[in-house]
Symmetry: C2
Subunit: 165 residues, 2 copies
């Protein structure tokens, strides 16, 4: 299954500022299967709660946004990533560090726009979709849409914070 | 935060039968924070959906049960655990292998009943409750109740399967 996330930031040069003096919390590593199945329970619950797939997609994005807003702190503290010099470096940080850290995978980066301000992430081994079979009546469901929300929230937080510095 | 799970099985001698010839799927290891925050989103959604904490607890247990029923296959395939000789060994497998594998922690096992058929698991570093602050109006919410359901589902599956062999 392929999933592509396409997004844009206005102030990408501000992404990934290193947080000085941040204390790292202890790391715990785990297998993804419990997370995968718990995520499935979440999507199933939303499909019961909302009448159509579009509303489920919106809710997943919203939940993801709220998660991203909080996760960025953890990411910056753990990753020791410095300020990115351009959007291509930002894409690398997202794909090779962030996705590796939280989902154990490294999506490929493709479809760069001519202006270099848009790209796609292709998740070939997305653990969220393990064991998943979507029923026919959910053809519009973007099952992993939470991830787009997470990226949106995390990116927005970093940009905002630095615009005020 | 302490969480104790107390449960009983009727046919514990049947737990943990080794699955022969099971093919292992590739392992992916990840940090727990995205899972933790996603779990928080799930509990929050259920608190919106159900009127009282008892119903949320029931729903978490039910979801966990459905997860456990599926997760046990993955666990047996990955862990190479053989048949347990008694319930104490079963407790060790749950705490030291299963929890370590899926949550990155090892709960302590306490409060054995005189008959040796009941015990408590104490989760001192439960990653599910990182970042969590429960509002005062959710004093009856058993936040991590999904885990009890997972154990219930997983244990039931193993016992059932062997009772039919």
């Amino acid at each position: 299954m392929l999933i592509s996330s396409r997004f844009r930031t206005c102030s990408w040069e501000a992404l990934c500022a290193r947080r000085e003096g941040e204390k790292e919390s202890p790391q715990s590593f785990l297998n993804s299967e419990l997370f995968t199945l718990t995520y499935g329970a979440l999507v199933t619950q939303l499909c019961k709660d909302y009448e159509n797939d579009e509303d489920v997609n919106k809710q997943l994005d919203k939940m993801g946004y709220n998660i991203g807003v909080r996760l960025i702190e953890d990411f910056l503290a753990r990753s020791n990533v410095g300020r990115c010099h351009d959007f291509r470096e930002t894409a690398d940080v997202i794909a090779k560090i962030a996705f590796k850290m939280y989902l154990g995978i490294t999506p490929s980066i493709t479809n760069w726009s001519p202006g270099g301000d848009e790209f796609s992430l292709i998740l070939e081994n997305n653990p969220l979709v393990d064991f998943v079979e979507l029923p026919d009546n959910h053809s519009s469901l973007i099952y992993s849409n939470l991830l787009c929300g997470v990226l949106r929230g995390a990116l927005e937080m970093v940009s905002q914070r630095l615009l005020f510095q």
